[in-house]
């Protein structure tokens, strides 16, 4: 007596998931580290800790002035040292080193591309959250005198 059985043949498909798991795991770890590094990169350079804000406007590429706990920079170039929230010298006057550098940068830009784009006369200012307003104001006023009357203050999104 022959026993009943399934008709047709069954194919067993073995999918080797090991390689796919390897790739996904690597992607996962690199993305996790990349996400952590993205915020750290903003904070660690020059000791700048940005305040948190509910602002939602995305940043655009502008000349960047960084007011950190230890130094004042334009892009990556150190302009002056900051001690206790103050710059050396007269505490109310224009910051000459910043002024000269911004005038030079603006002159180069106008020489290269002409004075047509007003958007280029906007500065992105990244200040450490503990910076006193007096220093922030000096930086802004100096920058305005150098030909950058508009600013975008960088903050961390909530």
């Amino acid at each position: 007596m022959a026993g009943g059985g399934d008709s047709g043949s069954e194919y067993e498909v073995n999918i080797n998931l090991t390689a796919m798991l390897d790739v996904l795991t690597n992607l996962l770890f690199f993305l996790m580290f990349g996400l952590a590094a993205q915020q750290s990169a903003i904070e660690l350079e020059g000791g700048v800790r940005l305040p948190v804000s509910s602002a939602e406007l995305p940043p655009k590429h502008n000349t960047t002035v960084v007011v950190g706990e230890r130094e004042l920079r334009i892009e990556k170039e150190v302009i002056a040292t900051v001690t206790g929230g103050r710059l050396p010298g007269n505490s109310t006057s224009r910051i000459e080193s910043l002024y000269r550098r911004l005038v030079t940068l603006r002159g180069k830009r106008i020489a290269a591309s002409g004075p047509k784009d007003a958007e280029e006369d906007t500065l992105l200012v990244l200040c450490d959250k503990t910076t006193p307003y007096a220093l922030v104001r000096r930086v802004l006023v100096t920058s305005a005198e150098a030909g950058y009357p508009k600013f975008r203050m960088g903050v961390l999104m909530q």
Binding site: L24, S53, A55, L57, P59, K129, T130, Y133, V136
Partner: protein
């Protein structure tokens, strides 16, 4: 006739003394793949998003042309907000409206104690909710107004300035939409600071 074998721990024994003990292990990778795929997609989405936002602002500049241009269609006011160590003082100014009319909408706000909802910690801070409410009243009365002159004391830290700008920028309506209040901020200085320069 008996079969050889008799190992208690193995399947072998039927075909000689040496037997290969093999266990087939089935790992159910489906839930692991589900979790990893989800995490991967969310990380990809979050990785491209912007962490840094910007607050547009300006400073007042002295210019040669001082002729005022008055837009007479709608009444506009400029809010001046002075920030010192203990209070926020809000005053209104307009080239077309009488000072008596504007005085009623001014406000002086002190510091309040709030409790952090997550940590339960009590913090003393400026009355940002009161500031938003006061600015909302001004905006409802004069909808064309959008400029605020911020005049903090020199020792006010930048983080506080940002918090004040956040409180002044918009108001969350019950419907979920945001009512824009004063998103154009001019950062100025106190007359005492200005006089030090002279």
């Amino acid at each position: 006739m008996s079969f050889g074998g008799g190992h208690k721990d193995g399947l072998g024994g039927l075909f000689g003394k040496e037997s290969a003990t093999s266990y087939e292990v089935y790992l159910n990778l489906t839930p692991l793949m589900d979790v990893m795929s989800n995490i991967l997609f969310f990380l990809l989405a979050a990785f491209g998003s912007t962490l840094v936002a910007i607050l547009p602002t300006t400073v007042p500049l002295r210019t040669a042309d001082v002729s005022p241009t008055i837009e007479a269609k709608e009444d506009k006011v400029t809010v001046t907000l002075r920030v010192d160590a203990t209070s926020l003082l809000m005053a209104l100014d307009s080239p077309t409206l009488p000072p008596e009319q504007l005085r009623a909408l001014g406000a002086q706000l002190g510091r309040v104690t709030v409790t952090n909802a997550r940590t339960g910690e009590k913090l003393e801070q400026y009355d940002y909710a009161g500031l938003t409410a006061a600015l909302k009243r001004v905006k409802e009365r004069y909808p064309a107004s959008q400029t605020m002159v911020l005049v903090p004391n020199d020792d006010i830290i930048y983080e506080t300035v940002v918090e004040i700008m956040d409180a002044a920028r918009d108001y969350q309506l019950p419907s979920g939409h945001k009512m824009v209040l004063f998103d154009e901020v001019v950062m100025s200085s106190t007359p005492a600071s200005e006089s030090k320069k002279k």
